[in-house]
Amino acid sequence: MNPTDCKYTKEHEWVRLEGDTAVVGITDYAQDQLGDVVFVELPEAGSTVKQHETFGVVESVKAASDLYAPVSGEVLEANGALQDSPELVNTEPYGGGWMLKVRPSDPSELDSLMDAAAYDEYLKTLQ
């Protein structure tokens, strides 16, 4: 059910390489656990993020949660559409609900993340 062209973190972020750009968002499981998302706080283009460190905050009617970068690099773009339509995170977590586009400083970092099959297995351990 989770896209096979993405890699996943234990904190439920996904990252997908599109050419030289890494696209980052949160998983379907994460959005389901959070409930209706009401606010997303993201870094500005030009700033840098570091793998496994926080890059922003997602707030739902239930809770506010930190977002952890799945890969290090320079932020090329934050998804401006989430400002007015944070619900995209719920409705299209792998599509219109993307959060960051990053130029990875070390693409090999992705090797340390889970693939879709491993992430599905990981989710089973959380039941």
């Binding site: 209706d36 606010f39 944070p86 351990t125």
Partner: protein, 532 residues
């Protein structure tokens, strides 16, 4: 009235112990006081001025004047009825059962209120000379000694006024102690089950908060993860005991030992001290600091946002760092402030904290005594376990283990029927109960966190359990009834998403709503529609 009192399996729902009638139809809304406004109506009249009036234009410069204030124009009786009506809608532990996990809405004995209201205390001024407030100083001094006895930690300050305030005081003391000893520390370890105030405290004190996981089976700290993250960069580990799943951390002695081996202090978030008060002393299992929420464990009212108390209790080693001034007893038996404390972190609140909160706690502890306090902890645990056993089949537990003062249900079992924890909570309102804490702790998905507290009778617990079981039945048989709940409140299910995204917090002139503008009209409408 429409009669939903018969549930679908043909049996009447359980008789409710409280008066906030289940299924009695929706309560009529109370209009805003602005909507009751009638031009020219007044609540009082002032005698004519005996000095010549000056035009406002001469007194206030242009730009500082407003032509219209849009204040409601109502009579005195309108005001009295409006606020009395609103006050009757209050839900409080004095009228109903309030099983709010983690936030602990205990009943506070009226004796403590009475003592706090004694004129000799009530009429004190905080700037009076020490020799004229000896009684108040004695209360604070003796309360600190009593808390030292209860916690097993000899250095106490009742200055902090809230739980998070006590935490910050404690972690600032930890920082001062490390600096004094020339130790450079960067991190504070915090379990993922902690209250959100713990990482906030660590960050405010300049430390990095490092999360330690929990063991999914036992609900306790993940000991291996703890050992992997513990090193000589750790200033402290903040442990909530019992933790926010309502479970005792059975490895706490080993956690303290290992932390101390690398010079890391153990901070105990004592928010849940009410579970073990009189039973065990946290100082005895090795913690170095603890704050106690006087407004949770020791009879200070908790609702309404305070004033609370977050007394900090520490080991003899950390005592020099306590906030100054400290209260001392002189050799001649008099009491006073001692501000000559070179290692103190300084003052954390004016006038030695909330004196009235301390006074209630002092009364509570003295009136219960050692045996009474033991019973408080014992009954809190007994009540929680009784309720847990009545509900664990229908709802399933996040961790199935003997609990302390509260327990966490796993609402995921109802998801097959399209029911979420929020639906259960909203439906409880129809049954006349304040819903428990939901979606906390964050580690438990769909959490329903229930804390019955020690003062509730078995009859009350049974009535609440019956309501919860009836709701679990409804969830399976007629889930739409839960989706649409609450049915009895003036306003039904709120659109929480829209409320968060587009908050509309201010009344504006000309936005009068279509609903009945006066309570009488609302009752008339309800009667005509056959709801009452």
């Amino acid at each position: 009235m429409t009669d939903p009192t018969i549930s679908s399996n043909g049996t009447a729902p359980p008789k409710m112990a409280n008066s906030r009638g289940i299924f009695a139809g929706r309560q009529e809304p109370v209009p805003l006081i602005f909507e009751m406004s009638v031009p020219g109506r007044r609540a009082g009249s002032l005698p004519p001025s005996d000095v010549p009036a000056k035009p406002v234009d001469e007194l206030l410069p242009e730009g500082e004047r407003r032509r219209e204030l849009n204040l409601p124009e109502v009579s005195e009786l309108d005001v009295v009825r409006h606020f009395t009506r609103l006050s009757k809608r209050n839900y409080s532990v004095d009228s109903e059962f309030y099983p709010l996990g983690s936030c602990t809405m205990k009943y506070n004995p009226k004796l403590d209120e009475n003592v706090a209201g004694l004129p000799g205390f009530r009429q004190l001024h905080p700037l009076q000379p020490e020799q004229t407030v000896q009684g108040a100083l004695r209360v604070l001094y003796e309360l600190e000694r009593l808390l030292a006895e209860v916690t097993g930690l000899p250095g106490v300050s009742a200055q902090p006024v809230a739980g998070a305030h006590g935490e910050l005081t404690g972690i600032l003391m930890v920082r001062a102690a490390h600096i004094k000893q020339g130790r450079v520390r960067k991190k504070v370890l915090i379990p993922d089950s902690a209250h959100g105030t713990n990482p906030a405290t660590a960050a405010m004190a300049g430390y990095d908060a490092v999360t330690v996981g929990h063991n999914r089976r036992t609900g306790e700290l993940d000991f291996d993860d703890f050992k992997a993250k513990l090193d000589d960069e750790c200033a402290a580990i903040m442990m909530t005991v019992p933790n926010t799943l309502g479970l005792f951390e059975r490895q706490i002695v080993d956690i303290c030992r290992l932390a101390h081996e690398v010079g890391c202090y153990v901070y105990c978030d004592g928010a849940n001290l009410n579970a073990m008060v009189g039973q065990v002393r946290p100082g005895d299992f090795g913690v170095d600091l603890l704050h106690s929420n006087l407004h949770k464990t020791f009879a200070v009212p908790h609702g309404g946002g305070g004033p609370g108390g977050g007394a900090i209790c520490v080991t003899a080693e950390l005592e020099p760092f306590l906030p100054a001034p400290v209260i001392v007893r002189h050799a001649d038996g008099t009491y006073g402030f001692d501000a000559d404390r070179p290692d103190t972190i300084g003052r954390v609140h004016g006038f030695h904290g909330n004196f009235n909160a301390a006074l209630r706690s002092y009364t509570y502890i003295l009136s219960l005594g050692r045996e009474g306090l033991y019973d408080v902890g014992a009954n809190a645990v007994l009540n929680a376990n009784y309720l847990m056993h009545r509900l664990k089949e229908a709802y399933q537990l996040y961790v199935d283990r003997t609990c302390m003062h509260e327990f966490v249900l796993d609402g995921r079992t109802l998801r097959d029927h399209g029911i979420r924890t929020l639906d259960v909570a909203k439906r409880l309102i129809d049954y006349g109960y304040h819903p428990p804490t939901i979606y906390f702790p964050l580690i438990a998905p769909e959490a329903i966190m229930i804390e019955p507290t020690e003062t509730e009778s078995r009859e009350t617990l049974d009535a609440f359990a019956d309501a919860m079981l009836a709701i679990a039945r409804e969830a399976r048989e007629e889930p739409e009834r839960l989706h649409e709940a609450p049915h009895v409140t003036p306003i039904g299910r709120l659109d929480e998403v829209r409320a968060a995204r587009q908050p509309d917090l201010r009344w504006r002139a000309g936005t009068q709503r279509k609903a009945a503008a006066t309570p009488a009209e609302a009752r008339h409408e309800a009667a005509v529609q056959g709801r009452v």
